[in-house]
Structures are given as structure tokens and as C-alpha cells.
Amino acid sequence: MQKSRKWIGGVAAATLALGAFAGGAGAADTIKIGASLSVTGPAAFLGDPEARTLKMYVDDINAAGGVNGKQLELVVYDDAGDANNARTFATRLVEDDGVIAVVGGSTTGTTMAMVPVYEEAGIPFISLAGAVVIIDPVKEFVFKTPHTDKMACEKIFEDMKGRGISKIGMISGSGGFDKSMREQCLGVAGNYGIEVVADETYGPKDADMTPQLTKIKGTDGVQAVVNPGFGQGPAIVTRNYRQLGIDVPLYQSHGVASKSFIDLAGEAAEGVRLPAAALLVGDKLPNSDPQKAVVTGYKSKYEETTGQPVSTFGGHAYDGLMILVEAMKRAGSEDPAAIRDEIEKTTGFIGTGGEVNMSATDHLGLDLSAFKMLEIKDGDWTIVQ
């Protein structure tokens, strides 16, 4: 008796595992959309708010009757930031789950690893990662929602040009974000008549950037300094900058656009300018701004549901999902190719990242107005007009 009961338990467990592996042969009255996000691992700060946002809004859409009269079914996998995992999950979403569209890919690495799978299968894919390579050159089925580093550089240089600055110093870290943005900035500086006369770097664990900044301070003709950076580095740069008494304007990047930067840099952050998405300053936007309703709505919903402060990364997921849902409504079908065509026709969509106007040659659809130039005053953000 004892033995047979063990057997039954074993068989039940095995069946359960097999069933789980085979995946539900989804009922035909739901529309399956997929996501492979870096919910855990080093990129969890991206993937976690993205996954929460997708789940939250898919539930919302379903409660309101779904899309085209059908309920959405969201399949989320956690690739832990590993490109090889992401590739496997992409294959699984396409081959096994039979999704008709995919949102996500938290990092550039995971996104690029998945691109060939979706391109080959003809499944529309809206990436949530930063780099320009994702959409340049344009790939038929690949779109993305976050602004690029290049746009952040352009926003900064545009602001500098307005202030009559033409010679700048640059200091950046050696991390992936820092390096990519540094290169983009060097690439577009010339377009704004700006010359980079000093270019210094620091290591990811450096606790003091005084030597690099002293060198910049000693360079002739530096009218402003840009710090494309991510993490703690920029806060240290900002503190050292004030300690050395450098009095030309300091620009930070959108990589530190969070309250924790102001906390870390303290009083030294006064007067620092940086480009950031509207989500950060939703309540400070003028009422006439079309983004105001969207960003304040998303912010309060996210913070209420999850009990955590809103992040721009979750906002990217909101934009991706909504662009997809709108396209599905316009297409009126579940044909991936038809949905792809409609995503490409997205115009005037107001998301947390800005106004999206896509075209056959632009699968991002954001322009520089997507960024607001902020200045830190009295420990808070203010919008530079």
C-alpha cells in the first residue's frame, strides 16, 4: 500500500512536470503575447519594473474587455540578463507558446540575441533596451521604445549651443552605458559645433575623480563638462567637481535621472543639468503638456499597485505594450504581419517616453522633445525652459 502510494505521487509529479514543460495548448479565444525580461540578475533594475508594468496593464486591459473582444494572455520568462537564455526563451515563445507579438528584451545584449529569432519567424518585437544598433539599421520586425544615448547627447549639446558653449571637457566611466554614451557624444558633438578638448575616464570602483577633473580644469578653454555615466561614479564626480571649485556648468546624463543621485551628491548637485524623460517630473509639467496625463497616470498607478517608486524603465514597458495594443486594435486581426504594419504606422502616440511617430525608416519614433532638460535646484528637479 505504502509503496503504491509512493508510485502515485511520483507519477503525479512527473505528469505535472511534463505538463508544465509542454506548455498549455492555449485556448483559441485568447491572444498570446510574450516577453523575455531580465527580472533577476544584474539587470533586474530594468526587468523587474518592466515585468510588473506588463502584468499590471494586461490585467487592466482584460478587465476592460480585452483587445478586439478577446482576452490577452501574457507569457513572461526571466532570462536573468543572459543572452543565451534570452535566445532560448525567444525560440520557446515563438515555437512552443505561439505568441503573436513580443514586448521586451531588457538589455541590448539580450535583445540582439533574440532579434534573429523574431525576424525569421516574422513576429513583431518591441524592445525595451537602449542602444541604437537595435533599430539602426532598421529591421523589419524590430521596434523599440526607450530613447537612445545619442538623443541624450544631442539634447545636452543643444542646450549648450543655446548657452553659447563650444569647447567642452568630458569625463566618463568604463562601464557599458558610459562607454556607449561617450562614443555617441563624440560622434555627434561636431554637428552642434562643439569640440571636445578634454576626454578623461575613470574605473567602475574609483572613489575619487579629482586627478581627472584637475586635468580638465587645467585644459585651456573648457566651457562646460559632460559626464556620461551610470551608478555611483557621477555622484562622486559631482562632489569632486565642487570641491575643486570648477565653475563652468556640469552636465550629467539620463543615466542618473533618479532621486538617489541628488541624495548621493548632496549640495554639490545644485545647478547640475541633465536630460531626462518626462516621467521624472510629471507633476511639474505644465497642464498644456500632452504627456502630463499619461505620466502622472502611470506613476500613481505603478506606485499604488507595487508600493515602489516609479522608474523610467517600467515606463518603457508601458509604452511598448500600449503601442502594440493600439496596433492590434487597428489591425483588427491576430496576424503578426498585419500587426507589424500597424506598429510601423504608429503616429501621435503619447507615451511616458514622449510622442511616438514611427515610419518605415524610423522604428523608434521619438525626437528630442522626448527629453526634458532638467536643472537641480534646492535638492529638486526643475524644468529648464
Binding site: 533577476t40 543565451n84 515555437e95 545584449g109 534573429p116
Partner: protein
């Protein structure tokens, strides 16, 4: 009977060939073919590492470094110098062998686990170079790998790679089994049982350890090249520390000193996360729990423990 079967040099490659061929016919979609191909690739690297851990009694905590050398060889060499991917694969394997030789030669003369520390450093070094030299490797965002073209055949799709990786794994197991049965293998086993005894009967301990280390590096490099070719895109995490640990875990889980165990260990660690996605938030908890259960219940590793239990019941 089991034991006699296992001692035959062709038994293990034959079992694995049957497995590769048999599994193909029950695979419902190319997603399953991909998972299987990933198992074969990891198994290849693990078979090599198992020679080092199971026979030479040394641990490498930087094997993903060699994996990365192979992977980035087939990415960089065709892009920069226009080499054919297969030539690049061989150059990568030679580079891995040379690196292993340079790292291992001074270290393996010492007694104890110095190799673990040295390889740990080596692995991190490779990872840092790949992450920092963005002009060459694409940095943390990774780089594309050109498709493998053999004559007129552009190798692509789940099926083609299933067969290629499966065949590579079988060949790898065949070489490993033969190596173990060769005079070198006998010396290695002697060394594993008692280093002092081996030295007394005239085995050049350091030399044999070095040989296995170099061979295991070549296995990892070839596996890395294959993965890069299958994916068509490679990121630095292939060479990362976590991947090294994963390879070591596969060896221990499957069973040290067992070629078949290497394949089982790789299969468990690659297939389980796919199965466990059904449990969502408890995925990692369950994975950890299952691995603990395996180690507590099957202490010598899955294959050796089970075959011992099987043999015991027969006797």
C-alpha cells in the same frame, strides 16, 4: 554485466549516439531541438572539465574563460581577418590550449588547489578583456557571429544544429573514453587515487595534470565556438564567472569521472530551468532545492550513484 558494458570503450559513445538519434524523433518543435542542442554543447565542455576534475583531481573555476576564447574566436576572426569560421574554431582551440599551457605549467608543479585560484583569476581576466575592448568585442552589448557556411550550405535552423552539436558531443565522449583507457588515462587514474603512489611508480604527476588541463581547455573552447555559431550572437556572459560555476556544478551533479555523468549533469541544469518556469516566482527556490536533494541523495553524482545502486541490487 552493467560493469562490463560500461568498461567497453564504445559503450558510452554508443549510448549517447542512440540518445541523440532517438530523442530527435520525439521532439515536438524546434524549441526542444534548441534546448537539446544547448545540452549537447554544454555536455561537450563538461566532458572536458570532468577529465580534469574527475581524473586529475583539479578544479578549474575559470573554464568559461576558455569557453569565451572559443566563442569570441569565431566572432572576431571572421569579422577582422576574413577567416572561415571552421578555421577560426581551430585557431580558437589552439589559443585556448596555449593559454591553458601558460597558466597551468607553473601552477601544476605545486601540490594542492592552486589551479583553482589561478583559473579563477584567468576567467575574470578574459571576461574583463572582452567587456572592455569594445572596438574588438562589442563590449558588454556583445557582437554578432557570422553564419557558418559549408560549401553551398548555410547552416541554420534547429534541426541542422541538433545533429551537428549531437555529433560533436558523441565524438567528444569517444575521445574522452579512449583517453581514459589509454596509458595517459591509467596514469591519471593512479594520480587521482594517490598522488604519492603515482609518483613512486614513476608517473610524472605535473606533466599529466598539465596534459589534461590543456585538453579540457580545448573541449571548452570548441564548445564555446559552437554555441557562438548556433546563436549567431555572443555576449560576455558566456565567459563570465557564473558560467564557470555552472560548468563545475554540472560535473559534480552528473558525477565526477563519469563521461555519461557529464551529459546528465548538463542536461539537468539546462532542462530544469525550462521546466521550472511554470512555477514562476518559485523557480529559483525549486532549482536550489532540487540540486540540494540530488547532492544529498546521490552523493557521488547522479550517474555513479545510480549505477552503483543498480549494480548493488543485481549482486
Amino acid at each position: 554485466m552493467m560493469r562490463r558494458l560500461m568498461s567497453n570503450r564504445l559503450a558510452v559513445p554508443a549510448i549517447l549516439s542512440l540518445l541523440v538519434v532517438g530523442l530527435f524523433f520525439v521532439m515536438p518543435s524546434s524549441f526542444y531541438l534548441r534546448v537539446a542542442a544547448l545540452v549537447w554543447i554544454s555536455a561537450l565542455a563538461v566532458i572536458g572539465l570532468n577529465l580534469l576534475m574527475g581524473y586529475a583531481g583539479q578544479v578549474s573555476l575559470g573554464h568559461a574563460g576558455f569557453f569565451g576564447v572559443g566563442a569570441y574566436s569565431v566572432a572576431i576572426l571572421p569579422a577582422q581577418f576574413g577567416l572561415h569560421p571552421l578555421v577560426s574554431l581551430i585557431v580558437g582551440a589552439l589559443a585556448a590550449a596555449l593559454l591553458a599551457f601558460l597558466v597551468g605549467r607553473p601552477i601544476l608543479k605545486l601540490k594542492g588547489h592552486y589551479l583553482a585560484v589561478a583559473t579563477l583569476g584567468f576567467g575574470i581576466l578574459v571576461f574583463m578583456v572582452i567587456g572592455n575592448e569594445a572596438w574588438l568585442t562589442g563590449g558588454p552589448d556583445g557582437m554578432p557571429v557570422p553564419r557558418l557556411v559549408l560549401g553551398d550550405w548555410r547552416v541554420r535552423g534547429g534541426e541542422a544544429w541538433y545533429w551537428i552539436t549531437g555529433a560533436l558531443m558523441v565524438v567528444g565522449s569517444w575521445i574522452a573514453v579512449n583517453l581514459v583507457a589509454s596509458p595517459t588515462g591509467r596514469a591519471l587514474r593512479a594520480l587521482h587515487d594517490s598522488e604519492v603512489a603515482a609518483r613512486v611508480v614513476g608517473v610524472d604527476v605535473a606533466r599529466y595534470k598539465l596534459i589534461v588541463f590543456v585538453i579540457s581547455a580545448v573541449y571548452a573552447s570548441v564548445a564555446g565556438s559552437t554555441l557562438a555559431l548556433v546563436n549567431g550572437f555572443i555576449t560576455p556572459d558566456a565567459a563570465g564567472f557564473l558560467h564557470s560555476i555552472q560548468l563545475v556544478t554540472m560535473v559534480v551533479l552528473g558525477g565526477m569521472g563519469s563521461v555519461l555523468g557529464s551529459v546528465v549533469g548538463a542536461a539537468v541544469l539546462i532542462v530544469l530551468p525550462q521546466v521550472l518556469t511554470a512555477f514562476h516566482d518559485y523557480e529559483h527556490l525549486l532549482l536550489g532545492f532540487l540540486m540540494m536533494a540530488f547532492m544529498i541523495l546521490l552523493r557521488a553524482g547522479i550517474v555513479p550513484s545510480l549505477s552503483a545502486a543498480f549494480a548493488g541490487r543485481r549482486a
